[in-house]
Structure formats: structure tokens, C-alpha cells
Symmetry: C2
Subunit: 1003 residues, 2 copies
Amino acid sequence: MMTTNTEQDIHELGRRLLEVTQVKSQSFFKSIDPLQKVMALSMASQDLKTSLFRLVDVMPALKTGEQVAKHIEEYLLHENSSLPGSLKYLLKGFCETSIGKSLILPIMRQNIKLMSKGFIVGEEIGKAQHKLSKLWNQGLCFTVDILGEQVLTPSEAYESQQQYLKLVYDLAKASKSWGAWKLPERHSGGSIPRANVSVKCSSLYRNIDGGAFRRTVEGVKNALRPIVSAAVANGVFVYLDMEQNDYRDVIFTVAEELFSEPEFIKYPHLGIVVQTYLMSAEEDLERMVMLAKSRGTPLTIRLVKGAYWDAEVAWSLQRGWDCPVFSQKSATDLNYETVCKKIVTYFPHLYPAFATHNIRSMAHALTVSREAGLHNSDVEIQMLYGMASVLKESLVGMGVRVRDYAPIGKIIPGMAYLVRRLLENTSNEGFLRSWLMEKAEMERLLSSPQQRLELSQNINLKNTIKGNHFINVIEGRRMTHFVNEPFWDYGLQQNRSKADEALAQVRKQLPLVIHPQMEGKELPTEDRLTTVNPSQCKEIVSEFSCATIEQADQAVVICQKHAEDWKNTDVRDRCLILRRAAQMMRDKRAELIAIIVLEVGKSYKEADADVAEAIDFCDYYAELAGKMLTSPAVMYIPGEDNQFQYWPRGIALTIAPWNFPVAILCGMTVAPLVCGNPVIMKPAEQSVASGYALYKILIEAGVPAGVLQFLPGRGEQVGAHLVAHPQIAVISFTGSRDVGMQIMKTASVLAPKQKLIKKVVAELGGKNAVIVDDDADLDEAVNACLQSSFGFAGQKCSALSRIIIHKNLYTEFKKRFSEAVQAWLVGPAEDLSYEMGPVIDRSAQERLLGALERNRAHIVAQKVLPEEMMERGFFVPPTVLACEDPSSELGQIEFFGPVVTLFKADDLEQAIQILNNVDYALTGGFFSRSPGNIIKVREKAEVGNLYINRGITGALVGRQPFGGFKLSGVGAKAGGPDYLLNFLEGRTVTENTLRRGFVPELT
Amino acid sequence: MMTTNTEQDIHELGRRLLEVTQVKSQSFFKSIDPLQKVMALSMASQDLKTSLFRLVDVMPALKTGEQVAKHIEEYLLHENSSLPGSLKYLLKGFCETSIGKSLILPIMRQNIKLMSKGFIVGEEIGKAQHKLSKLWNQGLCFTVDILGEQVLTPSEAYESQQQYLKLVYDLAKASKSWGAWKLPERHSGGSIPRANVSVKCSSLYRNIDGGAFRRTVEGVKNALRPIVSAAVANGVFVYLDMEQNDYRDVIFTVAEELFSEPEFIKYPHLGIVVQTYLMSAEEDLERMVMLAKSRGTPLTIRLVKGAYWDAEVAWSLQRGWDCPVFSQKSATDLNYETVCKKIVTYFPHLYPAFATHNIRSMAHALTVSREAGLHNSDVEIQMLYGMASVLKESLVGMGVRVRDYAPIGKIIPGMAYLVRRLLENTSNEGFLRSWLMEKAEMERLLSSPQQRLELSQNINLKNTIKGNHFINVIEGRRMTHFVNEPFWDYGLQQNRSKADEALAQVRKQLPLVIHPQMEGKELPTEDRLTTVNPSQCKEIVSEFSCATIEQADQAVVICQKHAEDWKNTDVRDRCLILRRAAQMMRDKRAELIAIIVLEVGKSYKEADADVAEAIDFCDYYAELAGKMLTSPAVMYIPGEDNQFQYWPRGIALTIAPWNFPVAILCGMTVAPLVCGNPVIMKPAEQSVASGYALYKILIEAGVPAGVLQFLPGRGEQVGAHLVAHPQIAVISFTGSRDVGMQIMKTASVLAPKQKLIKKVVAELGGKNAVIVDDDADLDEAVNACLQSSFGFAGQKCSALSRIIIHKNLYTEFKKRFSEAVQAWLVGPAEDLSYEMGPVIDRSAQERLLGALERNRAHIVAQKVLPEEMMERGFFVPPTVLACEDPSSELGQIEFFGPVVTLFKADDLEQAIQILNNVDYALTGGFFSRSPGNIIKVREKAEVGNLYINRGITGALVGRQPFGGFKLSGVGAKAGGPDYLLNFLEGRTVTENTLRRGFVPELT
């Protein structure tokens, strides 16, 4: 517990800081006009804030006055904009006249430049030196970081590394020439380097991935080593900056391993960051004190609150993971104090650097440091360059060392930083805001966070934010219970181990021997086929019997026999079976993942998503069926009882693809099942073991063996026979267009004795495109296009196949994208290090290589793969092509592999035309920061699933109902609110309840 | 206004009556045990009351102990029954043992007999005479009525007439022998006949129909004349009883005309009834005083409150008509007093008879009569036989003439009467109940209704009950705004006149000349056809140009050209156009009816329903589209904006049938339109003028001419061509199975350049059946089967084609049904007198006559039609066949004409099997009073629309979503909540709203 004395001391120091600062200055910020304006405006309304920040963000990417005018109009001058009238009027003058447009570009640039100047110390180290020396002369020290674009290619990573090296050298050199400093350049442990740099790991390594843990850690270490080495050689201090929580374990591990290398183990000028908005902050600190102790050399800890709060919250909600950050600002503040009190006890293993602008936090930190016996020089306060200069001045006056966090860099890569700073300054909860803008009384500002937290009632700190905290609303029906199954976090060691162990277990049992299953009985046949591991094709995964035509007929007879019972089974019981199946899949998740990885060559992550989607289908359809089938709609009139209810259609045939061997087969099976239809499952020939694993789970979960028949076999035999069978009521097919159209044709002909009209639910292919607008965030666009094109080697219906790029960005996009592809990591699916595995089988490999050969002239970039590798497994080199004719094979034909073609468009209209001018309409994407263009694409893009500013694969059940139209399918929208209707017949029952003139409802 | 004195007098008299009655007896009823029990139980819970009354109702129809036990179990011993435990236990003993079952039939029969004895004076007049003379000796007089089955055949009507004649003779004769009466047998106007009968018009005439006004009035007069004549000859008093409000105008008109005939004009012993629960009661009284004055001879008015309250309320709500009765009991009581005060002022033109058991009403009536100067003998009180004998005694003691309403008849036909009496006695609002059961204080009982009414606040008397008072709930979505368009009440003269005038108007314009309409332009072609009046085939209704193949192609081009604009038109505007079209159809209703009547031979009523349904489609789909398309479902996760929305599918082709030439064409056109699809309308060749009238309305209502093309023509040419056209996205077809299957086949083949998968919405035929269970209410079953089989000459998809009758009822059903068919009134559609018109064309006529010829041996009854008539129009004699083989042509083939076949079933299981064993599954019906059997049929009947205890045609939009499965169609359910999905594609748009780490929703 905090003593009363300490609390008094904190208040006293805090009051001093507040008073001295307020007396010295009316304005807390450097007086930069545009910045002040933007911030004042942002506080007027949330919508305006969003618009302003987005406008600021996109501005540097705009090249012409026209563009600037268009964006200003779209963001600020629309009819619902809450921009003040006078300002609107002024801006309209600029945006709507040609003179205005010619002036606006330089004006806005100037403004942005002015704004960024407030926060950025210079474009590069050369230009920044003057400012840094000025700071030095004011008694401030600094740490310099380089604002970085996300590095997407090895050459970008290399360039970034070179910049850091130059920074180390130049800074070391420059700082030598500076005069004596106001404060002593020493602390208890010795001298304090004048030159100090902060390094972001993500700017040095192309693909940080907690799942590919060792590969990432080694990669980052390799990139960092020369920098740290140069720092040691030049006596420069190096901080490893902390970034999003996903990278945390990687960065701490890098610190542990790299800083313990012989070259660095004795170097005292190394630092790292602990973020106290993380619930893990105390553990993180413990980890770092362990490192310091094991090194035997002190380490500096920069204690921050954390700058990714919005994103951490959003990501965790989107993924359904526990939120890593505290949901309340005051909890973070409290945690800051808690960790603060701990860190001072670890002195001199750890040297504390308190990074905060909150005077309460600052006063607390300085007070507890003093109480713990630390000398003034053993502690420092860090603040951001460009902010609170008066406060800094006061602190320096009090003999406190203050270090500015001083970024260098260009405006474009600096935008993320600038927006983050703007946000911080206008946050409703920010200390600066309440101090400056709202002039809250001093005492409240200095009150302890414990106290503030207690004021907000009943907050369970750890559980405030959860995925299911938010409610899905579908067509007015609240889907309160459905929450997507979270993916496994492969950043966690235990998940990686579970998956590895299960893979080894399954591998021991290979080959799996599988036969048709009817009425629960195993029925081997003569006709045998195998499935193999696409990463290593000599490994046979399963040997299976192909079902015969007689068996297919028999399966129908069995289904017919049990149909009535299943139809009459209470729908709640059928739902319960699905819920149980979902739970069993959770329980057997590692095993299912292993089978999928081995049988179809999916990566662990993709295989996990496959299982999670299967779980989602069970939960979602159970939820939906529970709603649709238990409460028949009543249209009530006295004397007339009307019920609108649903009946199962009849026997459903499920013909599934191999690319989501569990998920799609599961969705297409449990949907008709939960509606009360018997189902004949026909898994793809390439993924029989995965299908069988699902079948077993469904049976174990309680699906009566009489209503679910498992018929592996040859599609052209058993599949075709059943499609034509007069007693099959619904055919669910996901696969190629040709087969799908053939099924539709066959199913539309009445067979003798056929007493029903067949329904075909067909999900066919796609020729999916993304449009990259001229104002797109290129980092995001390139990265998302890479993932969408090459995830699971492009073998998803949703995969990206065409990238249509605005001519202004074409060259740059092509360059970055191509370089990234050439560095793409291709290898066996079971190794988490790789970014891409093989394609499904030899014939797919040959087909794809053939297509690439045919289009050799169009290839602009291709990863080179060793011949041996392509023989060992069904690997296909990820390839980028470029083409000018959208009507060519490259623009029209679905390849279903790691092949993507670039198209150049003169403008958005042409881009949309190219996007739409195919037979398919499945997925599509758009990268843009123009609200108007986004609306246009929303309205015009002929796709079933449109994604704005993100990748185009990975639709989630319930959240992104999936499926296309045109020749991509019948628009059934799997995982959507209408999907079950495919397996149901509406039925109306009307009863006249008026009898002998007596109406029960009226009496 | 009532004076204070009057009110005091009423209270004084009321108190005297209450006191004297209470002193004399503890029980108000005759002490009949089972009756007391049933009533006491009924008051325990509403459900139990319903069950008990239904059980009492069905009891006389049960023939075996097994049956009785089954019904008792189903009604009273189910788990939710609120029957007291001890009674349950006792009944279980009877129902679950074989001894019990052997005892239960006689026991229950005895009980029912005892109950009915309390209310029914005897089975027939012979057996009743003794009781009547006993009443006479007690000082009571009486009016005798005969409890009647609904008469369904001329012979039943004849028999009923003979019974009345016998009653008149026998009663006159018997009463002569009785001794002197306690009170004087005279009033101011002269002697009072001892013999008095009450006649129900509906028991004398087969088909009372206010719409067929003259035919009905003449028919009823002819049936009544001999009875009144006999009454005059024998000095017997005759009352015309009043029945449901639908018959009111007919009965008053009959009284006006018949009582003014020379033979009867001077006869003073005639009476009629005024019902004061009707809002029209005062007008009705005025009408009768006019009659009395014009006759110059007094008329007696029996003033009642009315016995059909439940039914009147339910019917009016079901039809959407203004409710004719007051919604509150006290309003009826008040109206009784209002009319009462009026009637005494009309003395001696009108002699009043106050029929009431309410002591307040009685005291009021006697008091105001006295105040008006009427002598005691000029007024009488009427009460029901078997009720309130003590009160009657007291009144007689006070010198008031009391007349019992004394029914004679068998138990089965008496059931309606018995149940109505039970209801009256247990009604929550009934005076008797509050007096006897709840011992309410005297003053409240005698308080004026005005006062009671004022206690209930804010009741707008005239508008409490309205159709839209009740809320349709569809799948949790409240369809608050949709209310079915009410049918025209042809009982109203003004509607009949409007229809007649419009018909004459349209007839003047014949032939209508019609051409294809594209982009609003009229495009005549060389190829001409005509439509003719099926009732009179020489009358040419329209001459039309058939669209050419080139025009069809051009229509697609035009649709394509305007598709984007229409898709982008705000859905609210599209909805508004539909609403406007609905309103225009209301405005032009008479004209539309006339065209339909002339062109397809529908009766006025059927044509009106056709138009009303078209209006409903517009309103309902607009409502639905407004809901589905304006609020895309949001599945909200911070940083991820998901919208699930619907897009139009593309050009829709509507191929419509002639049998609902406006309604079906309208539904199939406006549904795709409101969803944003362009539509090509192809009306049937036989109903081009009707289709054109609809087209014109839609265009005038605002459908852009570019998105709606009207293409009359030959189905096999222009229809087939468009079905195969690569740019048609949806084909809506309603028609024959063969054509439908051909369309599905053609549509499933990809044409060159086709870029979409076609959707076919097919509504094909039916072979609809009704099952008549062994406990069915035969009156209702026969009547509903007649309407369902022969309405619009059986030319509805929903029409009844097979009647499957339990063997126990087979003979009786066949007899009554056959006789009714032989009397069926067939004639030109435009004459409201007829029950059936022609079929659509010569080829249909020939096809049907051929089928009848082929099955001549099976014909059991057929209306004979003159040769000349069948030449003049396309008339086909309504025919009943009987067949033992359900797999024969008669059991399997859709005839689409006035032809129905009877099948006999041994039990319900067999009946269901016969019902299901066809290729179709459209409509079906079940007549039964067994809750268990009703559940069974609900669960097993393979039909899209099942109707319990009512006819199987006439599905209403929104209330009975319509359509079938198996080979009857794709289950699209027109007028249901899912119908629009046929014309829509689901589309998901996902936007990543996290930019630069900033999530608008979280800030």
C-alpha cells in the first residue's frame, strides 16, 4: 500500500509542476496553428474527428489539387459533416473553383508539413542534427527513432537497417561536437551516452510472425546485430521499441538472446520497453529483470502506457481473444504506478526511464524513486518531441533528466505516428486534454488512479472487453449467442507444441484405412484409392474404398428409411447434436489440424482456421435453426390460427471440395442435417481422411447413423449417379464451374418416379480481383494482396487472382509486390516458418506450371524453387504476372493456385469495369482512402463478398456470409441468415378455430 | 335523457324482481347436474372452457366408446389440461380401461341428453306438446322454433319447410285443446294466438347470399310463403328469426316484400327481430316501423341483444370489414335501452317483445313501456326455455306476459344451439353469471349501462375493433403496417351497382385492342390473336398483337439499358410506386373486376378477390422490401464494419397464368420490381386484356417504362425464346407441370455468353385433397368441399380434386354432397345469382368433357346443363365421381375443372396415405374435431398449405403464404416472408475501419 506520506509528496510535487507550468505558459503545445485547429475541431464531434484524422492520414499520398479537393469534399463537406459553417464555406471556395484547386495542394501540404514539423525532428539525420543540438543546449537529451514504412521486402528491410546504422554513426559523431550539458552526463552506473537510438524490430524484418517463432527471432536478431554492434563500437545507447502485443514475445526473446551474446553481454547502454496498458506488464518486467541479472549488466526499462490501445482492443474483439490491455484508462494508470513501484526495487539491475506526459504519473514516479533511494540522475523522464515543452523546461529546472523521443523520417511514413499523436492529444481520457482543454481542477488531476478506478463501479478489470460483448444483429434478429470460434494463437508455445505432437501422433498411424459408412457399418469395396501428403508425396495419408453405385442406391434407401424419424426429432435435439459436434471438434482440434496439414498441405494456421470454421458452422446453424424452426411465425387473426413453418426438403447430397476439407464439408452437411434432412456425404477424393474424421465426430456427437451416410468415391461415378437419383432432394456442391453446371443440368431433368423438384446449391469458382486506388495505403494494400493471393497457395475460392492498380501507383506497387513474392517462403505445410506450402496434387501442379509456361512472357516476378522440391512435393512457385488485356486467359480463367496477375487502370471507372468484366462474382477488394470512391465501389462491384481496405479471404461465419453470384454460384451465402432456407420448404397451416360461433381467443 | 324518476322506477322494479327471485330459489337454473358441472368447470380456465365446449359439440357425432374415450383423452386428459385432478383420475379410469370404454358411451350420451333436455323442449313437435301444455298451465306462453342443420341441398330445404308446416298445423290444433290461461289472451290490438312459431330463413333456403340478392330474396320468400300462408289459415303467430349480420338485409327485405303481399298485408300476427348488439339496430327499427306503417297493420318486434357476437367479431376481423357489433357488452346494453325507448313510441304500429334475461334491461323495458302508456298486455318479455324459471314465475305473478323461446329438434342439429346457450351462461360479461356465480351487489347489477360504459375510459365505440387492431408477426419481425385489402361486400347494393355499371362500360369498348409495350411504346405486329368471354364466346374481349422474337430480344436490351438506374433507385421510392399501384387498383377496382369477369369468366366475387390479392401483393412486398432492403443487417465488431445486404438478381421474366389474371401476374411482377429488377411481363394468351390493365396501372403508378416490358404472345414462341435467353436472370412461372419442367431444363443449360445461373421460380399444379374424419362436422365439411371444388369452376391451383372420406361418414357425405352438386347454379359469370361460371376456353371444355366421358362409369352426380348453354359458353357440368383406386387417373391427374372424386378410407392412416400418394403437394384440408387427429394430419400431410376445418382455397397474402413442394413447385411461398429472396442476391460488404491504429467506434 501507498503510505499517506508518499501520496502527500506526490501531490506536492505534482502541484509544483502544474503551477510552474501554468504560470510559464498559456499554451501547453508549441504554437503551431494548423495542429491547434485540427485538434480543436476534432473535439467537436466523433465523426468529424474520424474524418479529420483520415484526411490528415491520406493527405501526403495525394498528388494533385484535384485529388486534395476531392478528398476534402468527401471527408468534410458532405451534408452530414459537423464542420463549422464558416470553415465549410471557406473550404468550398477552395474545392469548387479551379483557382482554389490550384492553390489547395500547396496550402494543405504546407499545413501538413507544419503539423508534422511539430512532432518530427527532421526528414533525415543530417537535417535533424541542428534541432537536436538545440534541444541539447536547452538541457534536454533525446532518443532518435526512424519513422518506418512497414517493410514488405528484404530490400526494404535492408535499407531500413542501413538507415539505422547511419543514424548510429552520424549521431555518435555529431554529438561529440556538442558543448557541455546543463545536467551531469553520468548516473550511478557510469556515463550516459549522448547518442541514443530507438529501434523498431518490424522495420528491420519483413515478416514478424509469433507463430513462426524461431524463424522470426533469428531473423530479427540477424537484422539487429550489426546495429547493436555499431552502437557498442560507438558508445551509442540502443532501445528496442515495443510494438503491438503480437510481437511482444518475439521482441523480449530477441532482447534475451541478443543482449546475452558475448559481444553485448557487458554493454550497459541497452534498453527495452514495458507497456503498462498490458495486463502482462508485471510479468514482462520480471522477465527483463531476470535478463539483467543473468547478464550481470544493467538494462534500462522505458516504462510507457502504450500506444496501440484502439488496435489491441479491436483485434482482440475481432479474433475473440482475451483482450491484452486494460479497458479503462485509470486501470492503466494504476498499473503504471504498480510497475513503477516495482521497478525501483530492481535498481541497479534495472534503470528506470518513465515515459509519460501525465503529471500525476510523473510525480508518482519521481516520488517513489526518491523514496527508494535512487539518485536524481538514476531516473529519467521521457516525453515526446514537440509536446509539453514548458513542462520539460520546468523539470530540467528541477534537475530532472528529460529525454525527448525524437522521430526522424519522411512525412508519408510518418503519418501513422502523426495520427497517433493527434489521437493521444484529443483522447477523451488523455491527461493533456483534461488539463488543457477542460481546465479540470488540480486535485482531480492529481488524484490517485486507484481512487478514480473505484469511482467507476463494478468493473471487472480483466473481463470488461470480450468478443461476445458485442452483439451481432442479423435482420433485426439478435444472434446473441453466436460468437465465432477464436483461432489458435500460434504465438503461444503450448499451441505450437500441441499441433506438433498431434502431427507426430497422426503420422504414426498412416496410412489411415477408410471405407464407406452406411447406417454406421463399414463397407469395404474392391476399388481402392489413396490420398497423399502434398508436401511430401511419397507419404500416403489414407487408403480408401470407393463406394459403388449399388452402395449409393442403398444409401438412399437407408436415408429414406430414417427420414421420418429424423424429421420428427425435436429440432432442439438436432441443435444439441451440432453443439456437441462443435465441442468435440474443439476437443480434437489438434488431431484434425494434423490430418488436414498432412492430407491437403494446409499450413497449421490455415488448418486451424478450417477447423474453427467447421465449429462455427455447427454453432451458427444450430443457433439459426433453433430460431427459425422452433417458433413458427404466427399471423394472428381471431378465429384463424395461421402458422408458417418449415419442413425439411428430403435427402441431401453433399459433394464437397478438398480445399476446406473439414469446414465446407461440415457446413454443407450440418446445415441440411439440423433442418431435419438425411445426408449423404461425398468428400473429395483428395481429402477422404479429413472428411472421415468429420463424419466420425458427427456420429459420435449423436447424429443417428441412419441419417448420415459417408460415401467416399469417384465423383464421376457415385457422385453423378446420385445427382440423377430421383429421391435426392437437395444437392450441395462446391467445386468447379463445369461440374457444377453439369449437376444443375442433370438435376433439372425429371427422372422416372421422381416426385420432387431438385434444388441445387452450387458454389463455384471465382476470378477475384482487388482494386488499388491512387490514394491507397500501399503498405496495407501490398501486404493484404500477398496474403490473399498466396495463402494456401491460392487454392481458395476467395483467393486473389487479379490486382487492378491505378496507373499512378502501378509501378511502385509492382515493384514492392514483386520483390515480396520473390522472397516468399515456400516449404512443407507442417513447418510454421513457411509462408506457403504445396498445391493439392500432381495434376494441379502440372496444370499450373503449364499455365505459367503458356504465359511466360507475362511473368514479372517468380519465386525460384529447387527442382528437387517440386518433385518431392506438389510445389508451384508463387508467380506475379502483368497483363494489359483483361479479356485474356490471365484475366478470365480461374487458376486456383499461387498465381496473380497485375492490371493497370487509368481511373476508377476502368478499374471497376475490369473487375466486373468476368463471368464470376465471388470476392473482391478495394484499397482506397476516398470515401466517395469507396461508396462507388460498394455500389458497383459485382461480387458476393466485397472487402474494403483488407484482404479478401477468410470470411467468417455469421460475420461475412459467403458466396457469389453470376457464374460463381447460386448466391446461397454459407454462414448467412438465409442459408438454411436451401434445405427447407415453407409450409402454411391454417386452422379455423371458430366452432359453433365460439372463438377461443375472443372469450 | 332518462329522467331521475324513471331511473328510480327501474331500480325499484329491478330490486323487486331480484328479491323475489332470490328468496324463491337458491338456484337460478333448473337443477340439471351435468350442465351445472360443465358450467362450473368452464369458468375455471379459458382453455378448459374451449375444450369442454368442443367436446360437448362433438359428442353426438361419436358412435363408439372408443371414440368417446379418445376425444375425452385428447380434450381433457392431456398434460396441460386444467381439469381438476380428481376428475381427471375418474375420467382416466373410464378412458383407459376396456370396461370404462364400454360404459362411457351411454354415460356421456345420457349426460348430453340431460343437458340438452334442459334447453330443448322435445325432439319433435309430437313429443314436445306435453311440455308446452305444462308451460301453458304455469302461465307461460311460448314460441317454438325448429333446430336446424344448415341446409345444403334442395331436399333438405324442402324437408325443413315440411317440418315447419307440420309444426304450424300441429301446434294450432293442439293449443286449441288447452284450458284457460292465467293472463288475458288479448292485447290492445285484439287476441293473441296461442300457437307461435319462429322461423330461421337459413333452414328453408340452401344458399343465402347477400351478393346474389334478388335470387336469395325470391328463394327465401318462396320457401316461406306456404308457411306464413298456413299460419294465416290457422291463426298462428310467425316470427322471422334474425341470424348473422350477413343475412340481415335479406331477411328484412323478405319481411318487407312478403308481409306486404295481399294475402298477408292485413295479418297482425307477424313478428321480426331487431338485434341491439348491431350498430345498425336503430336503422333496422326505423325500417320495420316503415313497413308496419305501409302495411297499415301492426308488426311485433322481438328486441334481442344478439347471439353471434364472437363470430361477428371474428368474421369482421378476418375480412377487414368494419365490425357490425359493439365491442363492449355495456354498449350493447345501452343500445338495447335506446332502441327500447324508441320502440314504445311506435306503438301501436309496433308491438314490443323484450327478449332478455338481464333484470336491469327487463326492468328498464317494462318501466319505459309503462311510462309511454302501454298497457301491461301490450308488452311481453321473452326468455329462453329452460332458463330462469323462478324469474319467469315472478314476472307472471306480477301480471307480465312471459314467452319462452322453445326449440324442438334432435341433439345433433341442436348442438350449435346448446353450445351457444352454454357460452351465454359462462360468458364473463353475462348478467346471469355475475348475478348467480359472483353474487355481485344488487346496485351494480341494476346500474345503468351508460354509467358502466363511462367507467371504461376512452373507448371509441365505433372503432374499437378493426382488422389492423391485430398484429401480424412474421419471424419476429412485426409486419405492423400490412393489412389485407378487404373484399367488397356484395351484400351492399352500391357495390353491386358499381360492378354492373363498370361491366357495361367495359362492354361498350370491346374489343380492346392491345399491342406489345416496350419502353412505353406501343408496337403492333402482324400476328394477331383474340380473347373471348368464356360465358358467351361470341363476345370478343380483346384483339392483341403477339410479340415477335425480335421484340423479345429488344425487350432484354431495353431492360439491360435501364437496369442500373432501377437498381440504384432508392428502395423507398420503389416501394412507393407499389403503394401507388395498390391505390390505383383500389380506385379502378370496378373496371378491373369487369375486365376479369368478361375475359376469364370469373364471378364478381372471385374477380374482386383477384384484384384484392393484387393490391395485397403490392402492399405486402412493398412492406417486406422496405424492411429487408433499407436496413442491411449489421454484424458489428469494432474495427470491422460488416453489412449483409441484398442486390437485385437481374432481368426477371414473368410468365403468368390466366386463372388469376391480375393477382398472380401482379405478384410475380411487383416482387422482382420492388427488389430492383427489370421485368418482362408475359401474360397468358387467354387473359391479355387483364394483364394489360395491370401493366397500365403499374406504369401510371410510376414504374419507369424502361424497366417493365409488356409482351403478350405465344408462350411456345416468345416465352420459350426468353427462357433460353442468356441475359434472363430469374424466370417466374406459374402454370402446368410439363411446361414448368421444360423451363427448368432449358434454364439450367448455359447459353453462349451467359454470365449467370438462372433461377426458376415455378408454381405448378396440384391434386389437392381433403380428408373428412369420422367425427367431422358434416355441415361444414360438405359446404367447404363444395366451395373448394367448384369455386371458379375448379380452375385454381388450390382447388379441391379429391375428397377422402372416413368410411363411417362416406354414405351420408356422398348423398348430401351429390345432391348439392346437382342443384348447383351454373350460369354466366357476370350474373351474381350463379354459383359457377364457365371454364376458360373451348379446349379446356373439350378436355374436361373428354375426361368425364372416359370416367363415365365413376360419375355419381352431375349437374345437367343444356346443350345450348355449353355451346354458347365454355360451360362444364359440375361433376362428382367416386373411385376406389387412388392410383387411377381420377386420383392422380390434375383436371383443373369442376370435377371432384370421392375416395373412401378405412381409417385416418389410410386417408393420409391416399392424400400423400400423389406427385403433388400443394393444398390439402382436414375436417375433424379430434385434437389428436388434427395434430397427426398437421404433422403428416405433405402439402404446402394445409387447412383445418375450412375450405382449401382463398389463401391470403401475408396470412397464408402460398405454394407447394414435391412436383407442385419450388416452395417459393408467394405472399410469404421469404418470397423476395427469389429475386435477390445476398451480398456482404466488409470494411476495415481501423486506420492508423484508430478505431472510430472505440474512441
